[in-house]
Amino acid sequence: MSQFITGNGWLQLALYMAVLLACVVPLGGYMARVFQGEKTFMSPVLGWLEKLTYTICGVDPDKDDMSWKDYAIATMVFSAIAFIVLYFILVFQNLLPFNPQKLPGLTPDLSFNTAASFVTNTNWQAYGGETTMSYFSQMVGLTVQNFISPAVGLAVLVALIRGLSRKESTGIGNFWVDMVRANIYVLLPLALIVAILLGSQGVVQTFDAYVTAHTLQGIDQTIAVGPAASQVAIKQLGTNGGGFFNVNSAHPLENPTPLANFIEVLSILLIPAALCYTFGVMVKDKRQGWSILAAMTIIFVPLLIFCVAMEQGGNPNFAALHIDQMASHLQPGGNMEGKETRFGITNSALWASATTAASNGSVNSMHDSYTPLGGMVPLLLMKFGEIIYGGVGSGLYGMLVMVILTVFIAGLMVGRTPEYLGKKIQSFEIKMASIAMLVPGILVLIGTAIAVMTKDGQAGIYNPGAHGFSEVLYAVTSAGNNNGSAFAGLSANTPFYNSLLGICMLFSRFWIIIPTLALAGALAAKKTVPESAGTLPTHNVLFIATLVGVIVIVTVLTYVPTLALGPVVEHFNMIKG
């Protein structure tokens, strides 16, 4: 490697982590008040809207406590309606308003894939943004899903937290109340603030048709515009990731300046990180939240640094050419293929790591063109199951499943009945946790195997050699963990990939949600056993280390062979020249 991370690079990474962690307490505390039904400074502003919603929907927030089965049914019915509405908006967008480019309706397989993608908070982009989607589809179709799919994630998380904190209770809260509060008090105010900040930096927000410019060299250039700022804000905050434009936040009208980039990349991890504190407040033991946040950060930071270093190291194939890849105060250097000048190496690799640690999946550089080992970082982060900060709500409930498994394994090692937050962890809980943990792995490995063994699957591959395998693996990993980012060279808009990946996304989302809610119900029904000398503390360094160990070992055991066949082989091919 010719060079490591620059001084400014270190500074930018440190600044990012510092600002992110500084937001944890204020935002996390605010969300705890929202989900416990307490008054906040937003209540006078939007309280009437919340009440109106309950009146129209016939929901009594004080009385209608749901069992886990009712909660799960509400989640499924709500998501099913969202899926159907979005599907038909996309299929019939040519008949709907706000379509100045006269874009046709989407094909059924692409509509299926996109509806599955947005309802599951994945936001895989088989479509091309400015070449495919009308303004109506972007706003009423996609933006709405960008709010309600993370709100569903938040609701499920809050239900699980209630399961851990309630005693001998049959109910775990009310889905409609949790979901509406998440939208009105958390996502909407944050999105409005971020949208205006981004607009001030140059993100477009207009209903005009695309502009034609007559360029200096005398040709006509189409410039796609649209109501982007409002959508970009929530696609970052809601760990959605579906771009307004085809190249997502690499597009200068979607992410115009380094300051805009900082706001967007901060928005990716903002809510997932703060939720750890929300959790601590709601279970009345903040140390529990901090220890989970610590475990996430311990896994994230080294991988982030590795990714930046690999990309800053540049492409060894260029060494023989007359090219300067060294960073200086006049150029970013490094592997700049697929990266934007204003972001350079540091901000591109930071984004790639954050977007795959969280289940965001937006990009500001093309991951397909990363060095083999640099590109392995986003792949690996997705394979952790989107629990390193993870998706809004889904990240922490996925992480709590891992915590329960860790408590179980630790209990086996010392020969005691495992317990977490005073709840005995027994056979049913471990079964549910195992399902939630195994589903993504099964989807990813079987899905990849199907894709690489069939003609239709092989047909989508763009880059030759081991990297072609990585493209397929990345796509199925992304869908099977509800991330949505891509090695975008893969031609994924085919009936084969639209169907395969759509099915992976739906299974992965709901076959984790249902066992998680079952877990919440089972935990809520239990007594709380008082802490004793034999209780394994779950807030100290030993436990954090064990949790990190379990996460890493489970992931490595599941996926090392695939990583060896893809990025690792490619790396050795590259350095041998």
Binding site: L15, G58, I196, G202, A213, T215, L216, Q217, H322, T341
Partner: protein, 195 residues
Amino acid sequence: MKSLLSTLRPAIGTTVLLTVLLGGVYPMVTTGILQLGFKAQAQGSLIRDSDGKVIGSRLIGQNFDQPQYLWGRLSATGTAPYNGGASSGSNLGANNPALMDAVKGRIEALQKADPLNARPIPVDLVTASGSGLDPEISPAAADYQVGRIAQARGIGAAVVKSAIAKSTRQRDLGVLGEPRVNVLEVNLRLDGKLK
């Protein structure tokens, strides 16, 4: 367990209300605020000539391959480079022979247009951007081209350097991102269309 029917009322109710609020009111309010407060940015940071015709956007790069102009990043957008209606990166893997061909092609074009320039070429000048629409290049990549532009225009290198300096932005807040040169702005200055 409640009946499915009693779930449908809140399910449909919240879907309709949230769709109106989040898909209608929210983007409209955002549009209103941004059109009032930041009109130029909200419309795409467009640049117009003296007749009011759009000649480009400050944020969207244009294709330059004539020697008298500053060249930007390579662009992999479809049908033509810098197609602002269909953004795209090259998606070429670091090990793909096609990437080497693209890079070598660019080196050849640069050297052919400026045969006496023996300096190593900054990497951002031979690689494609992520969007295919990158409006900027690094200061090093701009400086590499000064001799060629000065010669093609028959003007002093200092004039070209001054145009570049005026279109150079440092890191945001002194820390964020990278120093960068707006290619279209430099070329507008060189053509006397921007002061």
